[in-house]
Structures are given as structure tokens and as C-alpha cells.
Symmetry: C3
Subunit: 457 residues, 3 copies
């Protein structure tokens, strides 16, 4: 049955309406914070800040730019691996990230940064990083739906995804006072279950009609490696971008660097052992090598020790590769969850591992290892939680993991229901994974196919 994929009205309408809404809401709510305002010079004098370098900009801007590259080039190019959906992979990633960061500045601002005096949100570089983080969860969710949804659906997915994220993040970081610097729980676990549940609701029984396009070609796999490598290289910046100044950022980088290195080796090992002749599978190399970064998200700031980081990467690389080998086919057949990019293997499972590792590491923290001040600083045991012990902190970390999963599952079910409405211009089962539906594309490849009577291009 042919579907109407004409989005000539709906996509421009959504883009215009939402962008205009952003302008109005920004006009009402968003202002520069004291470090990005021209009054900074007065602020410096008042607070006795000796140098411009103490502006948070200089602590965090390099990390911000790395995170920014991960969001747009990392996620974007990782999703170019399909032979005929590279435009949609990198292009729609671009669209929804650009929208999402605006909406995230508002949503996160209302929950975390609303000035009680003038009801304004004052933004600086840390808000930009957090907005990029928030959007990452929606891009993860996109990974499960890649090739099967319209850009209008993606805009809806992002609108609700950012909204849910902000609430979930508020509960986890502010109410539970859990730590999650690199977002194993807040970003990866939530984003993955959000996307998987949506994909489950939108299950396509006849997706095999597009089977000939659901794969890569030689060059598209090389494009995807651009995404993989920029994610892999900059992940230490991701996990340290909003960590504490000084040792916090420094330690988060070391831990993440090591966990990532370790998961590369176990990914290659499992990928090779699983195939005849030990041939490696590019899907594994593109994805499971990143599992160490995901799994180190929560504990990156903690004194998990360098060898602890290696162990985390070791395990998550194995789990993730096994996921691609066995779980993805199982989920598609038995659970009716079609997960194009395998986000369950790259984000859900390593995210959950990261949450558990964080809870255990927090619960086993001690003054002898952290130092008295170090322990307080690392876990922010002050004000309302000044008397919290590490054991209780471990419990709250575990609770946070369940909150993230619950928000993903329930939110995904609700948003999936909305996206199931027959008004969003999504493709028919036979037209999935095909850029020709939403993009003007050159027809060479199809021509070649006809000529050769083959679809191996």
C-alpha cells in the first residue's frame, strides 16, 4: 500500500512554527549570564576575580567544541553507513540537533537555571554543553528509527525527547542528587530505551521489503568510520565537559581514554572469533568500540582507578559486540523491535553497565582514597545532602538508573503512539532506508541496478 510521503506542507510548517516559538520564548526567558554579559568587568571587580581566564569560557570551551563535533559529525556520520540513506543519516541528524539544542536551552533552563528574581534563564558555555548533551539522547533514539521515519516525525520525537530529558535529568541530578557527568544514565540509557520503545510501537512487519537497502556498501562504511572515530577520540571531552574544574575534568579524561582503548581490543576479538576465518565485521568496529565511553559516563569523575577503567571498557566491548551478534536479531524476531543502528548494544546495555558501575564505585568510595575534602567535592556532599554517606549515595545512583529506564520506556510508548498517527508522512515498508523519498537524489545507482539486474550496489 503506497503511503503519502509528501512533506511539502508539514515539514516547513513544523520548522517555521517551532523556530518562531523558539524566538518568542527566547525573547521572554533567555539572557546572557554574568560571564557572557558586558557587565562581566563589573562582576569581576565585585567578586575579586583576578583574570579573564577565570571566566568559565576558558575552562570549558575546548571541551564544548569537541562535544559539538561529536553531536553533528560523530552521530551524523555514524549514521551514513546505509548504502542509500547517507543524506538522511547526516542531514536529519543536523536538522533535529539544531532544533533540539534551542528547545533544550529552554527546558533545562526552566528546570535548573531559572533566576528567581527576574524569571530569566541566564546562559553561558555550560548551558551550551548541556543542550548538546540533551540532544544526544534524541539522536540516540533516532538511531533505532533510522530510515523508517519522516523528518516531521523526527521533529516530534525531538520535541518530546528533550522535554522528557529535562524532567528526568531534574529528578536524577537535583532530586536524587545522583552524579552522572558523562550521562551513562541520563543520556544513553534514557535515549536508548526511548528510541527502542518508539521503534517497538512503530513496528513494521513487512520491513523485509526494504531489505536490499538495509546494508552498507564499501564507501558508506568508510564514511561511517569518520563518525566512529570522532566519537571515539572526543569521548574523553564528553565525559569531562561538565566535570569539576581541576582534578575532576582531568580524571574524567584519563578514565574515559582508557576505557575506550580497552573496548577496542575486546571488540576486535569478539568480532573476529564470531566469523568463519576470523573476518572482522565493520558494524562491530563502528559501534562496539565506543561502548567503553558510554559505560564510563557515570563513574568518569570518580576514583575508579586506571585499571578499573580498563576493566569497564573490557566488559562493555564484549557485551556490546555480543549484542550485535545475537541480541539484535533476537529482538527483531521475538520482541518485534527493529533497531537499525543497534542502539541497544551501543547505548542501552553499556549505559546500564555505566549506571551500575557508578553506583558500585560511589558506594565503595572512602575517605582514605578520596581524602576528606576530595570526597565532599566529588560527590557534592553539602547543603541538603551534607550528611549523606557513600552507601546511601550508591543507592540513589541505582535509583537514578531506574528513573532513566522508566522515562525511556514510558516516554517512548507515549511518543510512539503519537508518531503512529497516519499524518506524519512516513515511508511505506517498501520505501524504507531510501533517500529518494525525502531528498532530490541522482539516479545513477538505480540505473546501474536495472542494467545489471542486481541490487548489490
Amino acid at each position: 500500500m503506497a503511503k503519502n510521503t509528501n512533506i511539502r506542507i508539514s515539514l516547513p510548517a513544523v520548522c517555521f512554527v517551532w523556530q518562531i516559538a523558539m524566538i518568542i520564548l527566547f525573547g521572554v526567558f533567555i539572557r546572557y549570564d554574568e560571564e557572557s554579559d558586558t557587565h562581566w568587568i563589573e562582576h569581576r571587580r565585585k567578586k575579586n576575580i583576578s583574570t579573564n581566564l577565570e571566566n568559565d569560557f576558558y575552562y570549558r570551551y575546548p571541551s564544548f567544541q569537541d562535544v559539538h563535533v561529536m553531536i553533528f559529525v560523530g552521530f551524523g556520520f555514524l549514521m551514513t553507513f546505509l548504502k542509500r540513506y547517507s543524506f538522511g543519516g547526516v542531514g536529519f541528524n543536523f536538522l533535529i540537533a539544531a532544533f533540539g539544542i534551542q528547545w533544550a536551552l529552554l527546558m533545562q533552563g526552566w528546570f535548573h537555571h531559572l533566576d528567581e528574581h527576574d524569571w530569566k534563564i541566564k546562559i553561558g558555555v555550560e548551558n551550551l554543553i548541556n543542550a548538546d548533551f540533551c540532544v544526544a539522547s534524541c539522536l540516540i533514539a533516532y538511531g533505532a528509527c533510522l530510515g523508517k521515519v519522516s523528518p516531521v516525525q523526527l521533529m516530534v520525537l525531538t520535541l518530546f525527547g528533550v522535554t522528557l530529558f529535562a524532567v528526568e535529568e531534574y529528578i536524577i541530578l537535583e532530586l536524587l542528587h545522583a552524579k552522572d557527568a558523562g550521562g551513562s544514565m541520563v543520556i544513553h540509557t534514557f535515549g536508548a530505551y526511548y528510541g527502542l520503545t518508539i521503534s517497538w510501537v512503530l513496528y513494521r512487519p513487512l520491513l523485509s521489503q526494504s531489505k536490499h537497502l538495509q546494508g552498507s556498501v564499501y564507501h558508506s562504511d568508510v564514511f561511517a568510520m569518520i563518525g566512529t572515530l570522532f566519537l571515539w577520540m572526543y569521548w574523553p571531552s564528553f565525559n569531562s565537559a561538565i566535570a569539576d574544574h581541576g582534578d575532576g575534568q582531568h580524571r574524567a579524561v584519563i578514565n574515559t581514554y582508557l576505557a575506550l582503548a580497552s573496548s577496542v581490543l575486546t571488540t576486535f576479538a569478539i568480532s573476529s572469533i564470531s566469523q568463519n576465518n576470523g573476518k572482522l565485521d565493520m558494524v562491530h568496529i563502528q559501534n562496539a568500540t565506543l561502548a567503553g565511553g558510554v559505560a564510563m559516563g557515570t563513574a568518569s569523575e570518580f576514583m575508579i582507578t586506571p585499571y578499573g577503567s580498563l576493566i569497564v571498557g573490557f566488559c562493555s566491548g564484549i557485551v556490546s559486540t555480543f549484542g550485535y551478534l545475537f541480541l539484535t536479531p533476537f529482538m527483531e524476531k521475538t520482541l518485534k523491535i527493529q533497531d537499525t543502528c543497534g542502539i541497544h548494544n551501543l547505548h542501552a546495555m553499556p549505559g546500564v553497565i555505566g549506571g551500575i558501575v557508578g553506583a558500585i564505585t560511589a558506594a565503595s568510595a572512602s575517605e582514605s582514597v578520596y581524602g576528606q575534602e576530595g570526597l565532599i567535592n566529588t560527590f557534592d556532599f553539602k547543603d541538603a545532602v551534607a550528611n549523606r554517606t557513600v552507601n546511601i549515595q550508591g543507592g540513589y545512583q541505582a535509583a537514578a538508573l531506574f528513573v532513566a529506564i522508566a522515562f525511556g520506556l514510558v516516554g517512548g510508548a507515549l511518543v510512539g503512539g503519537i508518531l503512529k498517527l497516519p499524518i506524519w508522512g512516513d515511508p511505506a515498508d517498501v520505501n524504507c532506508f531510501d533517500d529518494d523519498v525525502y531528498w532530490e537524489v541522482i539516479v545513477f545507482f538505480f540505473f546501474l541496478n536495472e542494467l545489471h539486474g542486481t541490487d548489490m550496489v
Copy 2:
């Protein structure tokens, strides 16, 4: 009529003569500044600088590297979109940028940084950033000529382009005392009109003979997205790289980030609404999404407010996309301007918008918003212009825009005349957009074309 495209003498001659000239002129004029000289330790003691971190290197180096990536990967890969001119796009971009930055260090040094005592130019990281900026204007101009000129012509275009830039920049920044941190006027407006005028002088009435090569293929469009995204992601660094330490850099990043996000949404909207079925056009996505960054160049340091930035991006995305839809064909047919990359849409119009926005924002600045010190700092109202009012500043900003346009038009006409001489080895109309003219290339694609009797590769 066949043309002689043999550059075996001319290209090496130009490269050697100009590089040797650079070595001699650097030997006479260029020295390290006090922050990159081994006497820094004495300088620190004399000026009572407490830490090495106060070396400008630590304020600006991360931004410099981002700008550097924009120049070489951003511009370079954006110009790989043509199906058979990717080598020329990224390769000649590399050549002229590498030459241009050397010449720019000298030209900008003579105009801005010549030490009156010893007649030396003292360089540091800010000079490197400015050299990259200067070269950007020539790379923009290259965009209009892409595929139609020889590398020798490009070297000439760059030699004169950098020279004109340095004079124009001196007039705008020093004489008019206009502000233009991200170069909406100085870089984009000048560069675009310089290139468009050259392209107009070099008009090729029979260019349609190369029509079969003037387009993209699937993979070349993905390559171009690498350029687009690195430009888009790092544009906040471009507009803040030489902004004031502290709040100046911080605010420029926020404004640019927001303007860029906004222009992505309006670009997708207009691209979709303009086509049957709402299909998106990769040319728009690759280019018009960047218009917000161009248009935020002048006002990036100002208190334009976050929602003001969104509005600037909103409008420039629309204007730029409409340019690709209607103006480029109109200019080619009626004005005889062949603009391969559509730089009129991406740089000229958004650049002019940026200049106007800058003038208006400056004219409407006030002490109540900026604070007394903030106003002085932001507009550098001191020394010769200590008594300048914001209204007058607005007037000078507007004058600066006209200077940039005038330099582009007059300079482009002169340089275009030089490039029209039949000695530079440019390709015949039938050989444009073809790497085979200047590069050793593998002949597979042509072979395939013959076999299939088609040129759709």
C-alpha cells in the same frame, strides 16, 4: 577551440618565485612577538604577569585551531561536491590557503603591526588567526570560480586578494574604527563580491558544454557535508577568535551558536517547500545552513541578545535558500555571472545582512544595557574615538559595509582583467569542472560512461 592547459612551467615557477619571495621578506620583516620569544620570561617579570597562562596563546589557541580546520577542511571539503572536481576543490583550496597565509602575515603586519622602532613585524597566535581570516576571503572568491580557472590563476587571485584585503581591513578597522570580529563585511562581503566580479569578467558563454560535469553524485554530496559540518560547528570559534578576552569571546560564541541553529531550520523549511513532494535539496543544506554564521559576524560581540541572534539566523537562512532557488539562475542568465558554489547566497547576501545588523545593533547600544565600562570596552571608545557616540558608530559601521563592497567590486574587476590574459592555462569551456585537466586521475568513470553511453556518473 582547444586551449593550452599545460602548467608544467607556470605553476612551478609561480610556486617557487613566490615562496622564495616569502622567505626573503620574512627574513627582513618577521620576528616573534614578546609572547612567543624566549625573552617572554623577562617580559613576564617586567610586566608583573603572574602566570604563563596569561600568554595570549592560552586564550586563543583552541579557537585558532578551529578556524584552521574551517579554512582547510571546511572550505576544502565544501568544494568537493562536484562529481569530477573533488581533487581541484580540496587540493587547490589547500594550495592557495597555504600561500595566502604567508602573504597575509606580511600584508596585515605592514598595515597593523609594524614596530616603529625596528621596522619589524612581531607575530603571535593572533596574527595566525588573522592570516587564516584573510585567506578565507580568497577561498570564498574561489567558490565562484570553482572548476573554471587554473591553479596559476588562483595563485594570482590570492596574491591580489590578500593585498586588497589588507588595505580594506585597515580602512575599516583602523581608519573607520568599525567593529567586525567575525568579518561579515571584511571577510565575507568583500570576498564574495571580489569573486563574483572576477567570475563576471571571466564569463564563459559556452560553459553549458561542461554541463554534464556541473553537478554532484551521491558520494560527493556526502563529502561536501564534511565541509559543511566543520564550518557549522566551528563557526562560533571563527566569530569569537579575536573577540575581547572574557565576556567578548563568550558572548560571540553564544550568539553565533544560536544564529546557526536557527538558520538550519529555515533552510530545511524553504528547501522543502520549494520542491514537488517537499523533497530536500542537498545544495541548500550544504550551504544555506551556514548563513547564520556569516550574518552574525559583525554583531557577534555585541549585546544583540540570544533571541536577536535567532532572528538573524532565521532571516539569513531564508534569504540564502531563496538565493539558491531564484538568484543564482537569474544571475547566470541575466547578469552573466556564473557562480559555481553560489557564494552570492552564502557569503554576499548574509554578509551584507551581517553588516546592516551590526550597524543597527551598534547604533542602538546603550549604557543601560552594556554598562558604562562595558560599552567602552565593546566598542573600544578610547583614544582617538573616546568621544564617539553609538549613533556615529552605527554610521561608521554602515560606511564600512560600503568600503567592503567597493573593494570587492573594483578589486575584482581589476584582477579579473589580469586573469583574462590568455597566459594562465585555464581550461576550455568544454573542459571545465574536470579534474582530468590538472590532475593525474584514474579513468574508471570515463570508461564506464562510454560503456553505458551515459554521463550520469
Copy 3:
């Protein structure tokens, strides 16, 4: 004769054994240093450090990330130029770099950073940079062997390469007290001769059987330009990453930036002059343009002057391009050294030039140019070498160059002998440069070849 390329047991075994060994050794030896440990706050108080910014993290992290990109994307994508070995190029580069950085942290730690009190190695961001540097030498060696070895061989090559590097580096930097901030000798000269000697030992007389795959196609050359440009752009960070705080890093960036720019022009010149019609060769542009960065490695911190840097780049670009034109074919025919990527031209010769330039520049240093304190700081003339003169320093620099070459030649011969054992699963001569041996690949291209009876794909 068919060879057994089945690595289903050996590759996973090597990966697991070595990764588990890393975990154990890290557990025994590696700890956070005082700047990445939670006791940093106490350390700050004790040392009277006024701000978190004085944490070395903020001096070096941006440079570290640039170096990290060079290692994984720079080297990785530079090696994607072969038409059918892009997976192996970028993928195996990923594997051995991820292993090598772990082993390097240990080896370099034992030699340079072993705490005498508790026999632990305390790591921070500078160790991560040095680990990346160390791995670079093995990736250079991989360049000579690209397409002709198995991943298991590469793991062995890296294990021994890192080990040799750490010893050689210890001798050069600690015993000889030579300076080599960007590693012209320690990294490039050693790595290149190590790889070339291995390639000589593994000489394949019938390699011409794979001749049809030993070349690029249009798209693979564009992919390789990604590698080239990221190496080129970030090389200033490479040569400055571990330079002295303040003017040292600042000057190293300027010198490298200029040398690189200069070698681009001479590369284009020689490439053009060497061909009929002056057509450019992508192999030269992808490689020889980087020679200036290699050759500036040793002297980057010195007061070589800006025009001195231009001269270094000028010469090394010429030498490197001539190497590709004449030396590589000569070495293959006469010396029986098959050098896939031409590392002799990009790393060995420019590395040696860099070592010589460093020795001369050091020997001609003077208090009048450097200042008294500047001279001491730049060459670290204190403690055991407090009385060393610049002439003697020049002699030690020259000695260091010979140490690097000797370690490369002897180490390469030994490791080559080990890799010659018939147990590592390397491909037969007829199967070189072919991803199909170690990767699951889509068979489209081969299909097309058969259909067309050609191998020009």
C-alpha cells in the same frame, strides 16, 4: 601457493591476552598523578597554587585532543587511499593505536615516571600525549607494511615498537639530554627505519601479483585527503603539545605553521614539474605537504626564526616529493624494500632533516638571541647538564639522530625476523592490498570487474 589467513584463533587470543595483561599491569603500576587525583585540592593548598587553571590539564588538553585526532583520523584516513584496503587502513590503525597507547603508558612510565617511593607510575594528561606520540612511531612503521601484513603481525609490531621506542626515547631525552619536542628523531626517524627494515625483511618478490589493487580510485583519494588535512592542520599542536608552557608552546606553533605552509608550495611545484602537462599527482599532495611538520619536530621550540621555518619547509617539501618520484621505485627494485605509503619520503628523510636542523640550530644558539634565562629554559641547562654549552648540545643532538636510526634498523631487523615466522596469518602475494582477506566486505566491485573484464575500479 595459498596461505592460511585464518586469524579466528590468533587475533582474539592476542587481543585478550594482551588486554588482560594491560589490566593486571595497570593494577600493579598505574595511578593518577597529583593533578588528576582527588587530593588535588590539598596539593593546591600545599603548593600555594592559586587557581584550578594551573592544573596542567588546561595547558595541554586542547593540544592533546588535536594530537589524538592526528593519530586516529590523521594516520587512519591517510591510509585509506588504496582502492580496496580502506577498512584495513583505518581499522587496523585503530586497533594497534588503541593497544599501543596502553602499553606506551606502562613502558614510558617505567622509564620516565616511576615514583621511587611506591614504585607506581602517576599519570596525567602529559602521559596521554606521550603515549599518543609513542604510538605514532608504530603507525608510521605500519605505513611501510600497509596491505601486506595481518592484524596479528601488526599487534606484534606494535608491542615491540612501543618497547623499543621507550628505550630509545629514554636514551635520547634522558641520557643524551637531547631536545626533540615534536619527535623528528624519536618518533619519525625511528618509526620510519623500523618500518622500512621490517618491510625489507618481509620482502615479497611476487608482490606484483597484487599490482591491480595497489593504487587508488577517485573516492579513496578524497578519503585520504581527510587524513592529510587533519595531520597538516593539527601538526602545530603535535610539535607544541609537550613544549614548555608559555613561549615554548607558542613558538613551536608558529614555526610549525610556517614550515608546513612552505612545504605545500614546493610539493605542488615539484609534483607539477615532474609530469607531462604539469598534471599534479595526488600521492604527492597527500604526503609531501606534511614534510615540513616532520622536519620541524626537533627545532620547533628553538629560536629558528620564522624565515628559518619557511626554509626548512621549503627544502623538506622538495626532498619528500623527489623521494616519491625517484627513491621509492629505486628502493623497491634495487634495495628490495617495498614501502606502500612511501614513509621513507614522508618520515625518514624529513625526520633526518629535522634532526640535522635541530643539531645546527642548537649549536648556533646564543645568549644574545635567546637571553640568558631563555637559553637555560629552552635547553634545560640545569642540574646534571648545567654547564653544557650549545656546541656540545649540538653534538648530543647529532648523536641522538644516530641512536634513533640505529634503534630503527636493529629493532626492525629483529622484529622483522619474528614476523617472518609462518604463524601470523599474513596474506599470500596475490592477496595483498585486499580487505576481503580480513574483513567481511560487499562484493559489488568484484562483480563489476568480472562483468567488465577490467580491474580499473
